[in-house]
């Protein structure tokens, strides 16, 4: 490993994805350094979900190259899947299983050596130890988000993909979760990729932001650098400029069905 340059956790080159009539990604190319927290921003249909799904190996691209933690994701994804994890409020865990049962199943799927101590540790850290024995389906959406986050941290992932990690959380809990994720990142050196519509969250957590529109990256930079570049007060205004095509860049087609 070259000591002067940080290793790359993710390398994406010329990524295309088409769904019948819709081009969801149009030659996406980017790199993410190991240990960075990077935000993926874009309006609905910009290509965030498609990009994350391809990085996770859930979706096959039409063309392009994807390398995750140094491995070709299209050919050897099982070499890296034990080292990464994912959380999204839009993908459920089995509702009839208790919280502990769900985490136990995933602990064994990831091949943890010590499943029960890790579950207890996360339950205490994320403050859900009192409802470990409750069915997942009986939890409030905020509680579910915390359990889903625990599932995503079970295997001490070196790469963590988060889709709206604080959706449905009250502001206090959301703030606490952001702090927890930042601590996790600092303690472990993990790489975090964050897709969010919460601009304050992205500003706080991400050192680097990829702005997507119409399946391409239209801009990239640190949150403050983007704010300065667009002459705006905050990242939300930058986001609106880009989403509404006021950045003077090429606009993509209608991508409403992009992730379908």
């Amino acid at each position: 490993m070259n000591s002067t340059a940080r290793a790359l956790a993710i390398e994406v080159e010329g990524l295309f994805k088409s769904y019948e009539q819709v081009e969801a990604l149009r030659g996406l190319t980017f790199q993410i350094e190991a240990g960075a927290t990077t935000g993926l921003l874009g309006g609905n249909g910009a290509g965030k979900t498609t990009t994350i799904a391809i990085l996770l190996g859930l979706l096959l691209p039409s063309a392009g190259r994807v390398s995750v933690l140094g491995e070709d994701m299209l050919r050897h994804r099982h070499r890296v899947l034990p080292r990464m994890n994912f959380s999204s409020p839009y993908i459920d865990l089995p509702r009839r299983l208790t919280v502990a049962e769900n985490l136990r199943v995933y602990g064994h799927l990831y091949g943890l050596r010590k499943v029960e101590p890790r579950i207890r540790e996360l339950a205490v850290d994320l403050e859900f130890d009192e409802f470990l024995k409750r069915p997942f389906g009986s939890l409030s959406s905020g509680q579910k988000t915390r359990v889903a986050l625990a599932k995503s941290l079970l295997n001490h992932p070196e790469l963590l993909m988060l889709d709206e990690p604080t959706a449905s959380l009250d502001p206090d809990t959301a703030d606490w979760v952001r702090g927890y994720l930042q601590n996790y990142q600092q303690e472990t050196g993990a790489t975090i990729v964050l897709a969010s519509h919460n601009m304050a969250e992205v500003e706080r957590m991400c050192a680097d932001v990829l702005m997507l529109r119409g399946g391409i990256i239209v801009d990239r930079g640190a949150p403050q650098a983007l704010i300065d570049k667009y002459g705006r007060a905050n990242l939300e205004e930058v986001f609106l400029d880009i989403a509404r095509g006021r950045d003077g860049q090429e606009s993509g087609p209608d991508f409403k069905a992009a992730a379908q």
Binding site: L8, P94, N155, E158
Partner: protein
């Protein structure tokens, strides 16, 4: 440039293996939790086989009094009902377990974990095996208690019949799981009825010889038809037909290969179309 460090100390080496018994047990554990937490689900497994045995038991008693055939071969109908249910339960065991993942929108989480599709298949077959036993064993005991007939009187060939029928059920179940994965929960009802497409040519309740000649040729390629002919050979003629058993095994090898290949193919299509992320109603 790979940035992977040595094996993380908190993970077993099998996490990176192409085949992990631990991951299969994890999935079986998931389905056992589901069954354990719901007594109606367990009751449902045994309910239908039990009702079938009661109904066909009384029918057998009636026919035995009025028909030479059934008087000589008491238990042919009861055995047929029980063996057919092995096939039906075997298929449902695979399909229903897979549907649970779709209903709970859990496939995305499962397939970003190290779980591989072939391990999913083995887990589905394993839980199907146990679900089938839970459903069938109480019915066989009931047949002894109520009608004095033990399907276990078929002897060792019963083991061959059992595995041939459940493997055929798994093959159909894998195809149907793939269909539901590819076409969504709208195809769910097909999963319930698919196995009945082969029922008329499986010779469950009648010899294959009663079928038109061209249909007999089709029936030859149904493993279950060899099993039911073999069952009748034992119960009616007191003869074990090894040729029928071998036929069923060989055809089942082809069936299971086709079933697995279909599942892998549908899975790849699902990855291509992004269906693993957008499931559920």
């Amino acid at each position: 440039m790979s940035i992977l460090r040595e094996y993380p100390p908190h993970l077993r080496r099998s996490s990176f293996a192409a085949f992990s018994v631990g991951r299969i047990f994890a999935m079986v554990r998931r389905y056992v939790y589901l069954l354990r937490g719901s007594w109606p689900r367990i009751l449902e497994l045994a309910y239908w086989p039990t009702m079938q045995v009661v109904m066909f038991g009384f029918l057998t008693q009636f026919l035995a009094e009025t028909s030479n055939y059934y008087a000589q071969a008491f238990g042919v109908l009861l055995s047929a009902v029980l063996l057919w249910d092995i096939l039906f339960r075997g298929q449902l065991g695979v399909t229903m377990s897979f549907l649970e993942e779709m209903w709970s929108r859990n496939l995305g989480h499962l397939f970003v974990s190290p779980l591989r599709p072939h391990e999913m298949i083995v887990a589905l077959m394993t839980i199907s095996f146990f679900r089938t036993l839970i459903g069938i064993i109480p019915a066989t005991i009931l047949a002894v208690l109520f009608f004095g007939f033990s399907v276990y009187s078929l002897g060792f060939p019963l083991i061959g019949f059992f595995f041939n029928l459940i493997v055929m059920g798994w093959a159909i179940g894998l195809v149907m799981s793939g269909v539901v994965l590819r076409y969504g929960l709208g195809a769910e009802s097909l999963a319930w009825v698919a196995v009945f497409a082969v029922a008329p040519i499986s010779g469950i309740y009648y010899p294959i010889g009663v079928l038109p000649e061209w249909l007999q040729s089709v029936a030859f390629f149904i493993p279950a038809s060899h099993v039911f002919e073999g069952m009748r050979a034992i119960l009616v003629n007191g003869e074990y037909r090894a040729d029928l058993m071998i036929n069923a095994i060989l055809i089942n090898v082809v069936y299971l290969s086709i079933g697995s290949a279909a599942f892998f193919s549908f899975f790849r299509t699902a990855r291509n179309r992004g269906l693993l992320l957008n499931l559920g109603e």
